[in-house]
Subunit: 411 residues, 2 copies
């Protein structure tokens, strides 16, 4: 089964202490919006089980806890927006009655998935680069238990309203990445996202071809036109989200989802993007996480490439034109080195300047005597004679009755 | 006449000492190939008049002169290829009998041109960045006596076998540059070069629209298919070369010509270039002279854009998509700033995170009570009430019987 293992392998862990942690984190993903920094700080300080009790008002957080949260918010540069735990609790309170983590976990298990939590050995280490904004947990639907490491994941993103050109490049790059054993990560949306997933599925990577990172709950196929594609991804790749089943995708959640795509991948490739585009948001997340950003060039007359050209012009992205170049950016040192197109080599390659001057002076038909060549080429007679010998050896010059000309067939 | 002044204004200077210098330099351009570093060093050490006498064997160079030449060659990093003045003289000797500088100067004057020499006030200062490889003189055909300064010249270069796309972009960029008062410099060849000159001529720049830097003598129109274009350039722009009338263009002279294009311009734009292309040679010259290099992106499937993408990928070129962006690179500080496309602004631009969450939670038709919004948005009731007030003021939310929804027409 190539390392595939059903997520329901988690069943055993739901028991006992880890079980309680899983249930608590499942509940917290419903209680808190993605990147709720105060909530995430609370979880860091007291752990998920106590955090849910405090959020529910079953327990009070002491002054020391508040201080520690303030400290973490300060480190994350978010202290100014922090108005104390009570203010955060008023934000969580309206959702307390909706919590039903056991039901959510049962739903995801029925769909062949599970909840991946930071306490798991399989938790992607790349997400810790998000700092305090590291997600509470990841809801996953996949036959694969383990997400590939940072260097094995590349994000391929772009506009929803792609051009034919964008579709072709996306397909070729994604398929080529999958063939190289690289997992293509995208957002499951229409347009470039869909072509990225499709290309990856066609590439035959047996180590998880593609991951769709969703802005809403992974129990639904959104957008509905991508239902078949998303169903296939859930069966052959991985569908993941930090929000629980049943959650609507919202503008805010789309933007937060982009940070997850960026964090999971060593490279984010923007294939087509308008001057203002959600794909650029993913690119900026990648950049701020010190991940590599790449952009595919296109026609300067195509508005769908304007965002890519903007990234290139500002120096925020590297120019890539095929899967090999992307793989080289993603690869560990020395792995996946893109081979340079050799181009046609010309007959005069490698000639020294004098021999180049001499070759330029050689007539194509009627031969010239060395004295004439000396004047035309601007070389002393000794240099001409020595050079003619070298060019003759290289098959570039020939002698006819003491006169010299280019060998026939030489350009 | 907009600062136009015939080159024959030089007539007066041909008399007396400056006249002797002009004649000597005219002769030296025929005697020595472009970038003959030993020859150029000799001219620097003893001056052009004595240099021609030494080259002709009418005078002997002393040991001190040889030492000074060696010093200049050393500074230029070319000492290893220097085998003494005698060796250089053997290179010049075969051409001594061909020298007829007065005839060459008469030819160029008949064509409405003249010889520009470093001793002239109008000599382009930008060429001194070539160091020892600064040309001996420039043969010019133009109604303009003065070449524009570095910041007023942009090179637009590319493949001979351009695509329709390349022709369109070249035309737009060159015309736009000319309209901004920038002179478009190119090589007078087929393909991108020709479209660059044509676009510039169409742009209506009255301060010298375009300069063709030729690899051969400017008494002939080469390639012959460009005869009409080159004739127009000689009449409305400027045709220049460092080689004298009657000289054939050779491979070596094409490569040397490229260094002149690069040196004259603050920016070299490569519009279309294959993986191996002469245009890349110009770009490398520009780069080594610390001039700005720019490349136009294109389809990743077009072999004619592969060289441009190579420059972008290697970070040797800035991505440019129109004349405004090129002008910004060329411009003096603050001049020619490209205006950013504004793109459509969205109604949610500038909302804080809480109001964005709240707006995401508002239904489009049936209103929701604040308590429901509080749960859906994950915000405390106080934040919801304050946020609804703000959104109502901004025309984004409306109240219906105590319930709230998106204002009609809001997306």
């Amino acid at each position: 089964m190539n390392g595939k293992e059903g997520m329901d392998g988690m069943d055993g862990m739901d028991k006992g202490k880890l079980g309680a942690v899983t249930v608590a984190r499942a509940a917290l993903t419903r209680l808190m919006e993605p990147s709720d920094l105060a909530g995430l700080a609370l979880i860091r300080v007291v752990g998920p089980v106590q955090a849910i009790r405090i959020a529910k008002g079953e327990e009070r957080a002491g002054t020391e806890t508040e201080h520690k949260i303030a400290g973490l918010m300060d480190e994350a540069g978010a202290l100014r927006s922090w108005m104390g735990l009570e203010s955060s609790m008023s934000r969580w309170a309206p959702r307390i009655n909706d919590l039903a983590p056991e039901r959510d976990l049962a739903v995801i298990r029925r769909l062949g998935g599970g909840l991946l939590i930071p306490e798991d050995d399989d938790w992607p280490g790349s997400l810790s680069d998000l700092g305090l904004a590291e997600p509470i947990a990841l809801w996953c639907r996949s036959p694969y238990r383990v997400l590939p490491g940072l260097n094995r994941c590349v994000a391929v993103v772009g506009s929803r309203d792609n051009t034919d050109y964008g579709a072709s490049v996306t397909g070729q790059i994604s398929q080529g990445l999958a063939q190289r054993g690289i997992t293509v990560v995208s957002g499951g949306a229409y347009g470039i996202d869909a072509h990225a997933h499709l290309g990856a599925l066609a590439g035959g990577n047996e180590h998880l071809p593609t991951i769709a990172v969703m802005a809403g709950g992974i129990d639904r196929y959104y957008p509905s036109g991508n239902e078949d594609l998303l169903r296939t991804i859930a069966q052959e790749g991985s569908m993941i989200a930090e929000v629980p089943p049943g959650t609507n995708p919202t503008r805010y959640r789309f933007l937060q989802r982009n940070r997850l795509i960026a964090a999971l991948c060593s490279v984010t490739v923007v294939v087509e993007a308008r001057w203002r585009s959600g794909a650029l948001n993913t690119a900026h997340h990648a950049d701020s996480l010190s991940r590599q950003v790449a952009a595919v060039p296109g026609s300067v007359f195509s508005a769908n490439s304007a965002g890519c050209h903007r990234l290139l012009r500002e120096g925020s992205a590297v120019c890539v034109t095929d899967a090999a170049e992307v793989a080289e950016l993603a690869g560990l040192c020395g792995e996946h080195l893109a081979s340079e197109p050799t181009g046609a080599t010309a007959t005069h390659d490698g000639l020294n300047v004098d021999d180049l001057l001499l070759m330029d002076a050689l007539p194509a038909r009627q031969g010239s005597p060395p004295e004439k060549l000396s004047s035309v080429a601007g070389l002393g007679i000794a240099s001409v004679l020595a050079g003619l010998g070298r060019l003759e050896l290289m098959g570039l010059a020939e002698r006819i009755d003491g006169n010299w000309r280019l060998r026939r067939g030489t350009k």
